[in-house]
């Protein structure tokens, strides 16, 4: 399973990089979103895969139980929410950018033009 997940992460990163290198500003934001997804998944997979045991305490006596590692999940959860904030901001920025410049081509921003 790990191998297949690794392929998925690789494809997500590859697509993210390709989209980031586009001139269209919307694709840039799309690439940003993909990059966030890929990284969240990377963290999740790297922390070890556990099927069917969420990080809930079933007995409160404190004996060691088998369960997924809670800490990476907490970190990813934070990352997802922050990612939402960043993406929402970026999307509206794209909207503003277009309404001001009337273009979605980032190269036209360059002062070298």
């Amino acid at each position: 399973m790990l191998f297949l997940l690794a392929v998925v992460i690789g494809v997500l990163y590859g697509s993210a990089v390709y989209l980031l290198l586009r001139r269209n500003i919307f694709k840039l934001v799309l690439g940003l979103i993909f990059l966030g997804h890929a990284t969240n998944l990377l963290l999740f997979v790297a922390s070890g895969l556990t099927s069917g045991y969420p990080a809930f305490l079933r007995n409160i006596a404190g004996e060691t139980e088998m369960m997924a590692d809670p800490l990476p999940q907490a970190l990813i959860l934070t990352a997802i929410v922050i990612g939402l904030g960043v993406t929402a901001f970026a999307l509206v920025l794209v909207y503003r950018f277009y309404s001001v410049t009337k273009t979605v081509d980032l190269d036209e921003l360059s002062e070298n033009e």
Partner: protein
């Protein structure tokens, strides 16, 4: 204790002076001068103890691990320099306060001047090379402020910058030299260095260390080919020149050479380099001063020449040469400080310092004429002024020089002859002779402006007239400290009829003859200058500076091209190159393909994600890209569920829905995709993307096969219920253990929301 406290007080005064100057007005100079005067008295009172080689040290730990301390080392050399810095400094503060009283920003000026004094005093009592470097740089910075005082004039700014760049470059070289010097000893303390002087001289680091240290000393002390910043620095107000460019700042390089003479000196490399650069600078400075007409420029070039003389004598290294160097150092500080102050006075009273427009001033300011002439007598080396002693010793040392004796003798003779010529010129042509039409009738300079020069000239006379009683003991400690093997010579005014006296007499005669034919001589010098010295060093420096700026601008425009995708591509390419190197070196991955743990439904989800990602990349339709984005998000949600990430899945569903709706709303306003890149660019980007994607994949496999401990999570598992009363550990972490992080997260979302809101509001207008 005392030295550290004294320097701290000086620095404190530097910051207090700008605040208090406006309340104290004319009294300010006198009051501020009390501090250096106290220091002067204190250091002079140490003289009897110091004279037989005793040393007073103080150490304050700074970074002891690296052997870096604020330590102070007071010996005879320190006392001699302290006396010059604080003695002249006392008069300068009195002089400057009066001189600058009509200038704007005079309060700040006093602060800079005192700060400089503190830095300079710090150099001469430093007991640790790194301490010395710190003060050394502080003199460069404070002198930048002082030279650039008239900052509204472009000439002033460029000269200040030039001085800063040159001395700053030297300072960096010096730091390198100091670090190299410290290597064999494992310490930067002077006392450690002096305890085993041969360790560095016999080591392989000696030559590089020497070259770097000499770069520092030569730039500061205006040796060829760095000499040109000094005449340029004459744009500074006269109190600055009188202090920095006579006795202190420019002497810092000479001080460094004297200070390091016991450890670095005495070798062939030291001897050759100091003799060559010092000797050439001496002659060149004297020659270039002949045709100058600006009073301060003449003095600046003779200072260059005098500094060359000192470097030459130190390089010579014989008993006579070191004696001569120390005596001449003192002589020069006294007469040059006086002359610069008087040049300022003359400019103040007549409005010009061009000597072709001056003359007959004796009738207006007899006292000033007397003081300046006395200083010039010392410069010409005529008894009974101290200058005579300096010149005698100089000739004596040349007669006993180990190598190139006659060449050095001729160079010294020429230099002294020019000094005599200039002395006559500056005295006779300025104070006597034809009186030109002055804009306003000149009168005697005010008392505070004359006090310093008068006392310095008197001191010079006393020291010169009673050499055995005053000048001898005063300099003996410095000579012993500089060159432990050679004791100080007994100083006498009258040596009897010998070669040296004959040379002195011939020098005076030659100088007088030159003055008799001054017009022809100056015209001759100008003609040669035009022919051979037409290229000015400072112009060359400006050109190099400008070329460098043009070059950096070009290079910056190449690197900072303004295309976001090429910046990103650079990052990706460099990062993947680095990661690939690591992967290449790492152990090969043991890959077990176990089809049993690949449930078909999950494999289908993964296939869907991959398809969606690829179609988002290749599709020409925005809607497909949007749908693909949603598919990927929900696919990841399913992965989270499958591997026990329940909270993640719940959050992801909500976030993903929001994100797709928002993207849809924005996309509605955007134009359709246009094809911007050609096939070549797409191939190139595809290649970069593939390289990054593959290495991330390999990384995941590496991470999956290397299982580390999980110590941190155990803590949360233990305490989640017992301390925070929650069974869902992920939630407990977020709202309890790491609640502040979550607060930060909420803040980020709030800020993003405010940003979004304001951007949309702005559009409405």
């Amino acid at each position: 204790m005392t030295t550290g406290l004294f320097i701290a007080l000086l620095i404190l005064l530097a910051f207090l002076a700008p605040l208090t100057r406006k309340y104290l007005k004319n009294a300010a100079g006198w009051l501020y001068a009390l501090l250096p005067l106290t220091g002067l008295v204190y250091y002079l009172s140490l003289l009897p103890d110091i004279i037989d080689g005793q040393v007073i040290t103080e150490t304050y730990a700074w970074i002891p691990v690296y052997g870096i301390n604020f330590s102070f080392y007071v010996d005879g050399l320190s006392i001699l320099f302290s006396a010059m810095v604080l003695g002249i400094g006392t008069f300068i503060l009195i002089y400057a306060n009066k001189y600058m009283h009509t200038y704007p920003m005079r309060s700040r000026f006093m602060g800079y001047l005192i700060l400089f004094m503190a830095a300079m005093q710090g150099i001469v009592v430093s007991g640790n090379l790194i301490t010395m470097f710190v003060f050394w740089e502080l003199t460069s910075i404070s002198s930048y402020m002082l030279i650039g005082y008239h900052h509204e004039k472009p000439e002033s700014r460029t000269s200040a910058l030039q001085a800063l760049l040159i001395t700053g470059f030297g300072g960096l070289a010096l730091l390198g030299g100091f670090v190299l010097m410290g290597q064999p000893y494992g310490s930067y303390e002077l006392s450690v260095l002096f305890s085993d002087p041969d360790l560095i001289r016999s080591g392989s680091l000696y030559l590089p260390a020497l070259i770097l240290v000499l770069l520092g000393a030569f730039t500061k002390s205006a040796q060829f080919p760095f000499h040109f910043w000094l005449p340029g620095a004459m744009v500074a107000p006269s109190p600055v020149s009188a202090f920095l460019h006579s006795a202190t700042m420019v002497k810092a390089g000479v001080f460094l050479l004297l200070r390091l003479n016991p450890v670095m000196g005495g070798t062939e490399a030291w001897h050759i380099m100091l003799t060559a650069f010092g000797g050439f600078t001496m002659v060149m400075g004297a020659w270039l001063s002949i045709s100058q007409t600006d009073l301060k420029k003449i003095l600046a070039y003779t200072t260059v020449s005098a500094l060359g003389t000192m470097v030459l004598l130190i390089g010579n290294g014989t008993q006579y040469a070191i004696n001569a160097a120390i005596i001449f150092l003192l002589v020069h500080a006294m007469y040059k400080g006086t002359l610069f102050m008087m040049a300022g006075n003359i400019e103040k009273m007549t409005g010009t310092r061009d000597i072709t427009k001056l003359g007959g001033l004796y009738t207006y300011m007899p006292l000033a004429a007397f003081i300046m002439t006395a200083a010039l007598v010392s410069m010409a080396g005529i008894p009974p002024m101290l200058g005579f002693l300096g010149k005698e010793l100089m000739y004596e040392s040349k007669l006993m020089a180990p190598t190139v004796r006659y060449l050095l003798l001729a160079a010294t003779f020429f230099t002294n002859m020019v000094l005599v010529f200039l002395s006559l010129r500056l005295s006779l042509d300025v104070f006597w002779g034809k009186t030109p039409q002055y804009a306003k009738t000149p009168k005697e300079p005010y008392f505070p402006l004359l006090l310093g020069p008068a006392l310095l000239v008197m001191a010079s006379l006393l020291l010169g007239a009673l050499p055995g009683l005053l000048a001898g003991p005063f300099t003996a400690g410095a000579i012993t400290a500089t060159s432990p093997l050679h004791p100080a010579l007994k100083l006498k005014l009258w040596h009897g009829f010998n070669t040296v006296l004959l040379l002195s007499f011939l020098t005076l005669l030659a100088g007088a003859i030159l003055y008799r034919h001054k017009h022809a001589f100056i015209r001759f010098a100008e003609k040669i200058n035009l022919k051979y010295f037409a290229r000015e060093f400072s112009k060359g420096f400006y050109k190099a500076q400008n070329d460098f700026l043009v070059f950096t601008k070009l290079q910056t425009s190449r690197i900072q091209h303004g295309y976001h995708r090429f910046y990103l591509m650079t990052i990706f390419v460099v990062a993947s190159a680095l990661v690939w190197v690591v992967i290449w070196r790492a152990d090969p991955i043991m890959l077990e393909l176990n089809f049993a743990d690949m449930p078909l439904n999950l494999v289908a989800v993964l296939a869907l994600i991959i398809t969606a990602a690829l179609s988002a990349v290749v599709s020409h339709s925005r809607v497909i890209a949007l749908v693909a984005m949603g598919v990927i998000g929900f696919g990841i949600t399913i992965i989270f569920i499958a591997f026990s990430g329940v909270d993640l899945a719940i959050t992801m569903v909500m976030v993903e829905v929001l994100m797709v709706i928002l993207a849809m709303a924005v996309l509605y306003h955007l134009p359709k995709y246009t094809k911007y890149s050609d096939t070549g660019a797409r191939m190139r980007d595809g290649l970069v993307a593939a390289v990054v994607g593959v290495f991330m994949m390999v990384l995941v496999l590496q991470a999956g096969t290397s299982q580390l401990d999980i110590p941190i999570s155990e803590f949360f598992k233990d305490k989640s219920y017992s301390e925070a009363f929650g069974r869902n550990i992920v939630n407990v972490i977020l709202v309890d253990f790491r609640a502040l992080d979550t607060l930060g997260e909420i803040t980020v979302i709030a800020i993003a929301a405010i940003g979004i809101f304001s951007m949309i509001k702005l559009t409405k207008k």
